[in-house]
């Protein structure tokens, strides 16, 4: 498959502009830092109310929630929405019959989301209230970026199956719930914690909880392996579905 860098950049730039005109994206862009700020303010206010300083674990939860939104709502839903919209409006066919290859479309679609996701994770980290000195910044960005990529590939795969934007939303919802709720409630239920260690979002949340608890997070081969295996599995699933159907099937 030939990949033209200039065409990838052209599509990425266009998709970025398209995102800025997409209400769901704009809402997500406002909600993720907005919710993080509100949660931080709530917990800080509660601490002040009781005359105590809130423990960093609380701000770890705020950060985990913000990052989980980025890894799911933004990273899975948006690629699925963009691809299904291109199918629904017949613009995908126009692109593919104008010399754009599947690989160029794929890369051009996920690059802006990857970049925005990384920036948003940085913003959420800064505004969460968690002391930045407690966080290993390179490891934080490594794992969250791997998580975004996995989500993007998963989103594109959902987009292949979805005929329109509504179907994409419906099909993405179970994935969002599983990938968000299991890690979030892993602190409360041991059984969920067991499952969470095998989910890429679970590894990311585990890293954040460790930092906020002041415990050194060690990126063990098992944890890195889970992240990499899930990226590889997402890519393999995407390629399998794409080779069978293309982005859409007649």
């Amino acid at each position: 498959m030939n990949i033209s860098i200039s065409r990838v950049i052209t599509i990425a730039q266009f998709k970025f502009k398209e995102l800025t005109k997409n209400k769901t994206f704009l809402i997500a862009l406002a909600v993720i830092p907005g919710m993080t700020l509100v949660m931080r303010w709530l917990y800080t206010s509660m601490g002040e109310e009781f005359g105590e300083e809130m423990p960093p674990e609380i701000f770890g939860m705020v950060l985990a929630m913000g990052v989980l939104y980025v890894l799911t709502m933004l990273s899975i839903s948006m690629p699925a929405t963009l691809l299904s919209k291109d199918k629904e409006k017949h613009t995908l066919r126009a692109l593919m019959t104008s010399s754009v290859s599947g690989g160029e479309y794929f890369l051009g679609s996920i690059l802006p989301l990857l970049l925005i996701g990384i920036i948003l994770n940085g913003v959420v980290l800064v505004i969460s209230g968690l002391d930045m000195n407690m966080v290993n910044i390179p490891v934080f960005f490594l794992l969250t970026t791997l998580g975004i990529v996995t989500g993007n590939v998963l989103g594109m795969t959902i987009g292949i199956f979805a005929k329109d934007q509504m179907a994409a939303g419906n099909m993405a919802t179970p994935f969002l719930l599983i990938l968000m709720l299991i890690p979030m409630f892993s602190m409360l239920l041991e059984s969920l914690a067991q499952i969470s260690q095998y989910i890429y979002t679970g590894i990311v949340v585990d890293m954040i909880f460790n930092y906020s608890a002041g415990v050194a997070f060690i990126l063990t081969p098992f944890k890195l392996g889970v992240m990499l295996v899930e990226i590889a599995a997402a890519i393999a699933l995407f390629l399998f579905v794409y080779k069978r159907n293309g982005f859409e099937q007649d």
């Binding site: 398209e18 409006k89 126009a94 692109l95």
Partner: protein, 282 residues
Amino acid sequence: MTQLITLHNIRKEFGEKVALAELSINLHEGEILGFLGPSGAGKTTTIKIITGQLHQTSGEAEVLGKDSRKIDESIYRQIGIVTDNSGVYDEFSVYDNLALFASILQVDKSTIDGLLARVGLSAEKKQAAGKLSKGQKQRLVLVRAILHNPRILFLDEPTSGLDPSTAKDIHDLLLELKSEGTSIFLTTHNMEEATRLCDRVALLNEGRVVEEGAPLDICLRYNTEKKYELLLSDKSTLVLSHNKHDLQALSDLLNSDQVETLHSLEPSLESVFLKVTGRGLQ
């Protein structure tokens, strides 16, 4: 003459349904080939197969010398496609829609203004594509298809549902493109459109070409019983056959200056289609 498209015994099945059955046809350089047939005859399926959007069940299809199943960007850079459901980015302006494809096809964006003027869309340049009328949107899609000066233009029912004035503008543009060397593969169920534009037409019915040739040649081929229609001075009409008796009557009427109008009654493409298939084109 160079053959740009060659279809040989193309068959396409969708489950039990046979959409195309042993279809063979060629498009030569510089000509407009019309694919004429009613809805469901297999016209759109043919375009999809030639442009690599669909694979045939059997048979060989070549476009610009390449197997259509292996069509790649080098071919897509030489063809333009307009279909009834060619999509545009509704939330983007007319210009931005074209600028995207100009970048993809590595065309100088300065050509956009000239093309918009050519199809009468200059005033809508900054307007959101979603707010264009159906005719304007069709012209936008056409501009997008010819942006890179393609060797072959595929048009699937390009004037379907358009008002006569817009349809005529598009016809004029297509004839201009042809004079500039673009070869056109046109599907239509509009007999007048085919007669006006096409150098050759293929009449398609139930996935088979039932007749092929220049529109006039096809009509004359079926003009077995030559007849003439006359409008006389008293406003009555008279149909005369091409036999000794009727020709004498015609001569008498002409000599006595009783004939207001005189037309030959050769069959139209529609009547040929009806004769060959037993069904109409609509």
